[in-house]
């Protein structure tokens, strides 16, 4: 898989630090599963965390902490979390918990104009949303701006916009000042995994009317 669009380095830094909200962390994790270069990049960023841990001042632990630890070594480990085996070839491991039966088996909602969406359930603590967007081959997503940080990962098909062509594994890492109009390429529907922290802001009057229906 040739991935040519990667997350911004600051997004990977936030992932390494562990401060991304679940939807963003999941999109990055799924990209990492598809992109060796970014896995190597993450290994490098983790060294910053290692160096900070090595350099942080010490905080005394309670006297019985070591005994408590040693007393637990023979405990049977809690059951290993079941690692979902993805069914669909285009469902990388981190996404499998959300789409165990594959992308096509999800409860898609048609939004008209060749567009369908599927909201994926996340932890109630999450402050942003995780969703899938499916755009019919050759169809355009109405031009829109972004109300906040948005990550879009291509899982199937491809699209083009003014930033270039995005194929499977590519990620678009957009800040709020970006406006674009992605057009899915011919031949295959384009499915993207998206994390957003605000509603998209559609520019056209028609789309403003449709926005409540589209729900993105």
């Amino acid at each position: 898989m040739t991935v040519s669009h990667h997350p911004d380095i600051t997004t990977l830094m936030a992932f390494s630090a562990g401060s991304l909200d679940e939807p963003y962390a999941l999109v990055i994790s799924t990209h990492l599963a598809m992109c060796e270069g970014c896995r190597a990049q993450l290994d490098r960023l983790d060294v910053i965390g290692g160096a900070l841990l090595a350099g942080v001042e010490e905080e005394p632990v309670s006297d019985d902490a070591l005994d408590a630890l040693l007393g637990r070594l023979d405990e049977a480990p809690a059951e290993d979390p079941i690692r979902m085996q993805p069914r669909g070839a285009d469902v990388p491991a981190p996404l499998a918990r959300y789409a165990p039966e594959g992308l096509d088996a999800l409860p898609w909602k048609g939004r008209g104009g060749g567009v369908a969406t599927c909201e994926l359930p996340v932890s109630p603590h999450a402050q942003s949303r995780l969703m899938l967007l499916r755009v019919g081959a050759g169809r355009a997503v109405p031009e829109h701006g972004h109300g906040g940080h948005e990550l879009t990962l291509i899982l199937r098909g491809s699209y083009s916009d003014r930033f270039g062509r995005f194929g499977v594994g590519d990620i678009a890492d957009h800040d709020q000042d970006v406006e674009h109009q992605p057009i899915a390429e011919m031949g295959e529907d384009c499915i993207c995994l998206i994390a957003v922290d605000a509603k998209l802001n559609f520019r056209s009057r028609l789309m403003k009317l449709l926005q409540p229906l589209v729900g993105i």
């Binding site: 380095i9 600051t10 830094m13 936030a14 390494s16 630090a17 562990g18 401060s19 991304l20 909200d21 679940e22 962390a25 999941l26 990055i28 994790s29 799924t30 990492l32 599963a33 060796e36 896995r39 190597a40 290994d43 490098r44 960023l45 983790d46 060294v47 910053i48 965390g49 290692g50 160096a51 900070l52 841990l53 090595a54 350099g55 942080v56 001042e57 010490e58 905080e59 005394p60 632990v61 309670s62 902490a65 070591l66 408590a68 630890l69 040693l70 637990r72 070594l73 979390p81 690692r83 491991a93 981190p94 499998a96 918990r97 959300y98 359930p121 996340v122 932890s123 999450a126 800040d175």
Partner: protein, 199 residues
């Protein structure tokens, strides 16, 4: 007042007494023979730092101690998965602590980090560095962090040693989000030559 002590990384390196065992060796002893003394030694070296880190990351005292215990328990169980070729022991332990903290503090219903653990880089060729060099990289990065301009150091430390998102940091420092990101990029640009040594 910031929840960050800017002096951390500028403190003088602890003199490496002969008696301080290399964490990578301790992990190897745990992996090979379930050596409890090795784990106890690792605890003495790292538990106070792990606790400090957990406190900065938003855990209260009791939870911080729980997380330290869980981290070292995971280290005990997963020691065989550590490979000194891929990085310093302290970096590996940092990632374990981070993933546990995310589970417990951010309470994600799903586990995006754990699901990634099973995926190995196919280009998993050892980088050829000796263990001692991995330790050396950590100490060079520690020094380099301390040498960063204060404004860059501040965003790096808030980023890794607080539970703040970049937006939270922007708000806290009363600077635009773009400035937080550009400082992080500048800091990364300075650290990068040291981190690239890994490849």
């Amino acid at each position: 007042m910031y929840a960050v002590d800017m002096s951390d990384t500028t403190s003088k390196p602890v003199p490496e007494a002969k008696s301080i065992a290399d964490p990578a060796d301790l992990l190897a002893r745990i992996a090979e023979s379930k050596d409890r003394k090795a784990l106890a030694e690792l605890f003495r070296q790292l538990a106070p730092r792990l606790k400090s880190m957990m406190l900065k990351l938003g855990a209260d005292g009791a939870l911080a101690e729980d997380l330290v215990q869980e981290t070292l328990l995971a280290v005990w169980r997963k020691a065989h998965l550590y490979s000194p070729d891929r990085g310093a022991a302290v970096t590996w332990i940092f990632t374990i602590a981070r993933n546990l903290r995310i589970d417990q503090l951010r309470r994600l219903s799903n586990k995006p980090y754990e699901d990634l653990e099973g995926i190995e880089t196919t280009d998993d060729t050892p980088n050829g560095l000796q263990r001692i060099e991995q330790q050396e990289i950590i100490s060079r990065v520690k020094t380099a962090l301390g040498d960063l301009p204060k404004d860059q150091q501040e965003v790096i430390r808030l980023s890794f040693l607080s539970d703040m998102t970049h937006s939270d940091i922007a708000e806290r420092l009363d600077i635009p989000l773009g400035t937080v990101k550009s400082r992080l990029r500048l800091a990364y640009g300075r650290l990068r030559p040291l981190l690239e040594d890994l490849q």
